[in-house]
Amino acid sequence: MHKLTLAQQAKALAAKQISSEELTRHYIDRIEAHDGQLNSFITVLAEQAIEQAKQADADRHQTSVLKGIPIALKDLFCSDGTATTCGSKMLDNFVAPYDATVVKKLKQAGVVTLGKTNMDEFAMGSSSESSFYGAVKNPWDTSRVPGGSSGGSAVAVAARLASASLGTDTGGSIRQPAALCGITGLKPTYGRVSRYGMIAYASSLDQGGPMAVTAEDCAYLLQTMAGHDDKDSTSVDLPVPDYVADLEQTVKGMRIGMPKEFFEQGLDSEIAAHIQHACEVLTSLGCEIKPISLPNAELAIAAYYVIAPAEASSNLSRYDGARYGYRCQNPRDLEDMYSRSRSEAFGEEVKRRIMIGTYALSAGYYDAYYIKAQKIRRLISQDYSQAFAEVDAVLSPTAPTTAFKINEKSDDPVTMYLSDIFTIGVNLAGLPGLSVPIGLQSGLPVGMQLVSNYFKEDVILRLAHQYQQQTSHHLQIPASFE
C-alpha cells in the first residue's frame, strides 16, 4: 500500500479497495518499525489517527479526494490539543489550543494526521540536526542528513512512513530536503497558503507547502491548502485554479530558462550531468531551454541572512517564559527569568540568528544592514521579473550537493548556509518553486528546482508532472525501507 502514490491511494479509497483505517494502521506500523533509525517524527498520533481514519471510512460517501489520506505535519503547524514543539526545548511543553488554517482545511477534507515531524529548531537550518529531539537521518544513507529544515517531513515521505507531509520553506526548507531525500516538494507563492497557525521563523519569507512522492500528489494537497484567509493579512485573495486538472495540459512550447550564474563555476559536474539529462527529457516534451541571467543571485544569501534573522529576532521574542513554554527554575527577578529561560531553552543556531538579527536592527546598523538587504531583495525580485518576461520557468539544481554527512557542516554555519544558494532567492522574491527528483548520484538523490512566476504554481506542477510521466526517479524507494 505504501508504494502507491497519494493519488493512487485516493482512488483505491474511493473505490473501497482499501480502507483508510487499513492504510493508517499500515503507516503506523511502518513508523514503529522504521522511525527508530530515522527519527523523523517528534510525536506520533496513533490513536487519534486511527479515530480520524475510521471517521473517514464512515463518511466515505462524501466527496473529497483527500479523505482518509494519512499525512504528517511538520511540528510547527499548530493543531488543536496536540503538542507543537517547533523542534525546541522552548516549546517542549506547549500544546496548541487551536488549529492552523491549513490544518483546519485538511481536517475538513478528511485528512488523517499521523503525527508531527522533526525539524531544525524553529525551522532554522538546512540539515535537521539542530532539533532538541535529535538529528533526523536520511533514509538513503542514515549516516547522512536529510536536509532541512523540513527534514522529518521529507524523510517520512521518502521512507514511505506517510502518504505525504506538510513542510514550510523560508530559504529552501521544503525544496532542499525534498531534493536530498528524493521526493517532490513545492513551496507556493508567498501569500498563496495561509500562515496562520504556522509558527513563524521569518514572516516575510515563510510559506507552507506540500511534500509528496509526485507532483500530482503535491497538486492535490495544494488544492486544499491554498486560498485567502481572513486571519492572515499577507494571504492573497486570488481564486485557486484547478491544479490537478491542469497537470495534463501540454508543456509543448514552454520556455525554460537556465540562469548562467548557477552553472558557471564550481557546480558539481555529476549534478550538472543530471540536470543535462533532465533538460533532454523536457526538450523531448517540446520545451525550449534557453540561457538567462539572474545578475544579483550571488547576493541572495547575504541578504537572506540579514532579513530572516532580523524578523526571527522579533518573532522569537515572545518566548519569554511568561505565558507558556519553558521557564527557568526559581528566577531571581524578571530579568533573570527572561535571560535564563531563553538561554537554557534555545539552541545554538537559534541564538546565533537572534543575535545576528538583533544586531542588524540596532540603531546605527539598521540602514547598513536591514535597509540594504531589502534593496538587494528588490533587485533579486527584478531579476526574476525580467527573466519571466522571456521564460515560463527557471530551472536549476535544487542544492549544490547531495546529502552530506551528519556533523559534517554543523560547526561551520557559513558552509551550511551555502546549501541554500539556489533556493534562497526564490523566497526573497516570493516566487513558487518546486524540487523534483532527477536521479541518484552514488546512491544519493539529486533534485531539480523549477521556479515560475507569481501564482503560476500550475506551470511548475505541470512541468514536473509531465517530467515524471517520462521518468521513474521519484518512485525509487531507499532499499531498507521498501
Partner: protein, 477 residues
Amino acid sequence: MQWETVIGLEIHCQLNTQTKIFSGAATAYGAEPNTQACEVSLALPGVLPVLNKEVVRKAVMFGLAIHADIAEHSVFERKNYFYPDLPKAYQISQLEKPIVEHGQLDIMLDDGTPKTIGITRAHLEEDAGKSLHDDFDGMTGIDLNRAGTPLIEIVSEPDLRSAREAVAYMRKIHAIVQYLDISDGNMQEGSFRCDANVSVRPKGETKLGTRTELKNINSFRFVERAINYEVERQIEVLESGGRVVQETRLYDADDDSTRSMRSKEEANDYRYFPDPDLLPVVLDASLLAELQANMPELPEQKQQRFLEVYGLSVDDAQQLTATRAMAEFFEQVLAQQSLPAKLVANWVLGEFSAALNQNAIEVADSPVNAERLATLLLRISDNTLSSKSAKQVFQALWNGTQSVDQIIAEQGLEQMSDTGELETIIQQVVAANPQQVAQYRAGKDKVFGFFVGQVMKATKGKANPQQVNQILKQKLS
C-alpha cells in the same frame, strides 16, 4: 534670570471600537482579568494580526479635524522591548509613516487670545496589558484584557509655553475626540492619558533646553501640577549651577512631585522595523471622501452656531461647547420647551454644572435630565417661580424623583403674580409705614428696599419681584 518653559505633549487616546486593533477580542473595560484575551492577545505561537478597519476610519477623522495631512500609505512597525504586559515582546505601532501628520489646532489663552499649536503626528498603535502587583504572594499577575486595545498617539510640537497652555491643549484634544465619537475619553479608566516633554530655557534663547519626559498623567489637574513642579525643579537645578539630565520621570500625585524612572543612557533601543505580518495601510480615496462628507460638528463650528442661532455671548458659547456632552445637553433642554436660550445657558453653566462638579459626575449620570430641567426653566420663564425658589426646586429635583410641579405645589413656592392681591398687600405695607413713606418722598431712595423687604416678608417671598417694584413705585410716587 527670566525663564521660558517649553512643553510638548504626547497624548494616548484609546479608540472606542468594539474589538481590538488586530484581533476580534472585545475591548470593554473592567472585565475579569484575561477574559478578553484571545490567542492573538496572548501572542500564542503562530498567530497573526489582522487590522481592524474601524481604527483607520477613526484616525482619519481625527486627522481631518486637525487639518492634517492624511497618509495615502501608512506603515505599521514593530517596537521591540521585553515587558511582561507586552506579550509579543513588541508593540505594533507606526514610526516612519504614520497615518496622520502635520496638523494643528487653536487653543484660547487665559487672556482670551487664540494660539495655534502644531501637531507633529498622530499614529495608530496597540495598548499593552497590565501588571497586577497585589494578591499574588510576591508574584506579579498579568491581565491581557487591555493588550491590543487600539490607541492613537497624538504628538504635539513643542509649542506650549506653560502648564495652563498644556491643559488647554489637552482639553481641546479631549473635546475633539469626543465630538468625533472616536474615543470615550474616560480618564479614570485610562482611555485618555498623556506624557509631557518639559524643558526650560533663558527667555530669548532659541535653542531648546534639555528635556525630561513626564510619564502617564491621567487627569487635567495632574498635568498642570506635574508640569509646574517639573518646571520649578528644572529652574532650581539650572540656577544652582547644575544641568538637567535627559530622563523619564514619573509624576507622583500623592506628594505632588516627579521622580526619575530611567535616564536616556539606560533607554531601550527599540529596533523598529516594518511589521512583515501586516500590509501597508492604503487609504481609499472614496473612504476619505465619505469621511470628509460626514464629519460631525466640531467645537469651533458648534460655538459659532451657538453665537449665531441662539445669540449667546462668546463666553457662554465657548463654555457650553467645551465638551460635547454639555453642548448636547444644552440643546436637548432647548428642544424640550420654548425657552430663552440665555436662561438655559445660565442654568446649564451655573446651577447644573456646579452640581455636577460638586458630585464629581458626568452629564450622562446627572439625576436631572434635560426634560426635568426644561420644565423647571419653563416655570421661571412663565413667572411661576422666582429664580431663588427655582434653585430650591433644582435641589429637590437633584435629590429626588418628584416632578417640578409637584415640588412647587408641595413646598408652596408658586410666585404671587396676581396683581390685585399683590396691590392690596402693598397698599397695606405703605399704609403701615407712614414715616418711611415720608423719607422716600423726601428723596431717600434707599428706603425703597425697605418696602420691597416688607412686601416679600408679607408674601413669604412668593411675590414676583418685578411686579413688586412696579406697583411700589406707583404707590409711593
